[in-house]
Symmetry: C2
Subunit: 358 residues, 2 copies
Amino acid sequence: MGRKRTKSGKIRLAEVAELAGVSPITASRFFRNPEALSVAKRARVESAARELGYVPNLAARALASQRTEVIAVLIPSLTNNVFSDVLRGIYDASEGGRYSIQLSNTRYSILQEERLLRLFLAQKPAGLIVTGIDQTAESRAMLEAADCPIVQIMELGPAPVDMMIGFSHYEAARAAIAHLFAQGCRRIGFVGARMDPRVQRRLDGYVSAMKDAGLFDQHLLVTTATPTSVTLGGTLFADLLGREPNIDAVFCANDDLALGVLFECRRRDIIVPDQIAIVGFNDLEFMASAVPTLTSVRTNRYEMGRAAATMLIEAIEGRRPEQPVLDLGFKVIERQSSLAQRADSQPALSGMAAGRTK
Amino acid sequence: MGRKRTKSGKIRLAEVAELAGVSPITASRFFRNPEALSVAKRARVESAARELGYVPNLAARALASQRTEVIAVLIPSLTNNVFSDVLRGIYDASEGGRYSIQLSNTRYSILQEERLLRLFLAQKPAGLIVTGIDQTAESRAMLEAADCPIVQIMELGPAPVDMMIGFSHYEAARAAIAHLFAQGCRRIGFVGARMDPRVQRRLDGYVSAMKDAGLFDQHLLVTTATPTSVTLGGTLFADLLGREPNIDAVFCANDDLALGVLFECRRRDIIVPDQIAIVGFNDLEFMASAVPTLTSVRTNRYEMGRAAATMLIEAIEGRRPEQPVLDLGFKVIERQSSLAQRADSQPALSGMAAGRTK
DNA sequence: AGGAACGTTGACAGCGCTACCAGCTAAGAC
DNA sequence: GTCTTAGCTGGTAGCGCTGTCAACGTTCCT
């Protein structure tokens, strides 16, 4: 008969109920839907729980209720500053609530993503945040079949699985190039690393803008699958210069690369922006502080994470947003590194071009 | 009698057992301790599980076994590059194994940390990774009482709760200052932000080194509780210069500040290192790429995370390390920004001073 | 006053898995 | 040949909580 499992002396819901003088189920309701209790019992259960230091057993709750209070998050990288901002937004928005975040790293592999998705979905998460719109067909099918709200973040696309928060990398890149055109630049190089889908779309935007102006030239492109870094920015730029010495601007797929380009210019005594203009992407904090200050395309990463988690939690709790797709837009923050006319003026946020798709 | 909960059509362990022609408990054992089964049954269960696409229900497992396979990680910040490296190490080491990572952010508050600790511990994690050695008395007591392995990371201290992996921030700072002394610097400023316990200990190391040399001066210190940033590095340095125009070096509590100082020097046409030497801390990737290249104290952040998770998992599985405290050391990476004699030479990693406490 | 409607409470069973222990078989010891 | 030991397998009984539904008491309506 009975076994001798260590009882562990833990406070269970039954103890709380007993002290409060109610049935266990009433105590249970107190934690899930306090409004359903009479004011008197609510107070009794609350004080009993506090007195005993009750902490619910999540495993038991998950088993009995057939759902968890876990929000699963799939991102491609932990190193990339971009994602740490997004994550901070997600964690901030979930803080204090009942949901806990389960984070996993796909390492930019959609197969890895598929594997993780299968794993997560089996645990019936309350909600899911996935990066981007490029999933395997299998992943896509699992997402469609999942019975929890899902938010896709980082970019926009034609067919959201459920909800979607991002901006158009394509349009953002076009806006950056338009800005360079406005400064009189014509031979604009492109420097990109990693070449994940979002960088690829920035490249597409660059290519289309250049083609529209009749200025596209294959030789202006330097890309690599290598993960991005400041040092790599310098290296790629050196490659580009070796091949095309008379470029007048460089559009970098991210800010690390841009900083690397800036340092390489300094190393070669190339004056920025007089000889070469530089534009980055993301507007990380250091861009405003560099000498010269660096132009970049500002993206709302923290806000994206925050909005994604907030929207997801709302949806989990049954309040679906009236607008399931959210375009957070971007802004070209014009700084010294690309303002040909007034290169020597004060470091200033002299103007901007903002964009919002559709 | 019976209720009508949605059976969800999920594959349970019982289904696998039935298909394999064994009892559920045998199937259960297959997943926990395959060696205990005969080879024949092992193969049968394995193929049955694969055929049905069985995924274990973690909640049921946790409830029945009274323990989870979750490693809880408490770190103070998600933004800080330092922690993203550590985290990457932790995630890499846990990948492919049975343990999942539950991450939480204390925001540099030990009260917040205490709250999270209480929350996590109630769910009986398999293991725990906490940052630093400055916990509240209450937290400390909870950690001591916890019945799972615990690793403290980021620094070393006299009384580990259990295991500990880090290095001496105090000695690392002293080594940085010793390097500057060796370059002939005497009026060495200190720039620090956030002033969390580890930055504080770097400051302590700086102070002690300066006092040892009879060169300490309260006015050489600029610190703030504000979170760190590149821009802030410039601002703090400007403060310092305003007060003490004739300093000959700056030791920055981290690399972001150092980069800000470098930009501020450039803005003011101060030649680095001829007029002022700069030393940072952590050796982030961009330090080697800056112009001039920036000296920094290299810390093994990725390795720290990796070792912490590896050691923790080993301990969880009963293989306690023979050496529970691991000093990962540091290295002063000497670069142009602090090499007075050969400021114009090639960017080189000309030499280094390594340190390991005790 | 009778009945409907509502708000509140509790009994019961079981979510899917594993700890414990007993039993069974085959191999080795004497 | 019997006894012991080891290796493997299975039965039983929950782990702590919640879904379902019935029952209760109260209020409000006609």
